[in-house]
Symmetry: C3
Subunit: 182 residues, 3 copies
């Protein structure tokens, strides 16, 4: 009888193999994000329900895609203007940081607990700027550095940082991201 | 002998568990898209075969990625010009709507039946515009609203709506999307 | 005893079914990319380690997402300027080709052997240009044609080719891509 019991275990073994995280040499372990946010003094904002025909996030399997978000100020309102014209590099960076907080707020509303995020996968950041402005990466670093402060090595992501001549309501920065969940 | 028959069923059970749709609280059931399109008076266009080195759609597993599409007019030609300059908001919206129809036409050519689409996941929409134009979301709503009219709650998607100074052949709008299949 | 041995094989059979490539009518077989690169006289460059908070590539399952890359010249430096203004169409095309080589170099650093790439899935290409320039697809074809020369039918991809008013350090082209691995 014992050998049939072993037989019973084979399918369980195979399925658990398939759901094991793939070794990518970059896992730094699960992060207690709430504690990290407190430590970094980052305050998420309440997220208004999505209106009309779009949503802030869509989950497919263990991937979450976000909408493009903007630089929401803590007291309401957003940061408007073109970097290199109306706004300085530093103001652009502040916009990227605030956009990061808006994105984390929406992700938390989707998944309940940001500690479920395993990896920041891909980020696309657009900087509303003059044609002569060429420091889009420096603007976006304010966003990217925040991700690494929270998730360490797993916060490092593939990123495009580009310029554009115009964004909705003339916001300074628009960022979308893809994250992988545990 | 009966207990070995049960043993036989275990792997089938496990595999079917893995292929069950994940509960995401947003399923509104399969849509008869052909009927919907008729009801909404939306006429898809024949899709010319892809030329050269790109294709209109690529399927990976149950995800379909599209190329950027433009506002193809029913009688041929496209809508050209910069919104906020050459074109009004309303003309931009018409361009977004026509681009949506072009995308649905390409998706149908890829998967045969649009009813196989489970969810509109992610949309990136670029509006060819003047630096002062800031109503990209209003332009893109003409596209997004069409998706919701067709797929209901499952038509709501994550979206970035941004401006740009230039698009191919000076088309007014370019949109790419990712959809999930059943 | 023989019938129990058969029983043992069932889970293996089921799992191997799940990992079989889906028939998409586009498989052209595994490509020896190193040989192809030699044949096409394409020389990859050494990849500097990623600095700061971003990485050149992120792998999730069998998909690899890249960061936006730029036109790195073989001898060092990059191609700078706005196509349609500072640069001609031909110079833009050379920038797209060099950006393709930079991307392949980063992908090789991630996966070790480019022959592991099954399919070029999705490409987003931005051309730094004047508002009047409208040949973004012609610029990007220099990139896309290279992919097809290497991978044949599997090199054909979904693509958006768009313009922008500004890119980092005023590089002429920025391209990001998603590839699927075997």
């Amino acid at each position: 009888m014992k050998r049939y019991t072993l037989l019973l275990l084979i399918p369980f073994f195979l399925v658990s193999c398939k759901s094991m995280p793939s070794a990518q040499g970059q896992s730094t372990g699960r992060v207690d994000v709430e504690a990290k946010l407190k430590e970094l003094n980052i305050q998420l904002s309440p997220v208004a329900p999505s209106t009309a025909s779009i949503v802030k996030t869509v989950r497919v399997g263990n991937m979450v895609y976000t909408s493009g978000h903007g630089p929401d100020k803590p007291g309401g309102g957003q940061i408007f203007g073109k970097v290199g014209g109306d706004l300085t590099l530093e103001q652009g960076q502040e916009a990227a940081r605030l956009t990061g907080i808006a994105l984390l707020s929406s992700l938390k509303a989707e998944i309940g607990d940001l500690s479920k995020i395993k990896r920041v996968v891909k980020v696309f950041g657009l900087v509303n700027c003059t044609p002569a402005f060429s420091q889009q990466p420096q603007v976006m670093n304010a966003f990217s550095d925040m991700m690494v402060k929270i998730w360490g090595e797993n916060g490092r992501h593939a990123r495009s940082a580009v310029g554009t001549n115009a964004l909705p309501n003339n916001i300074a920065v628009e960022i979308e991201m893809i994250v992988e969940l545990y």
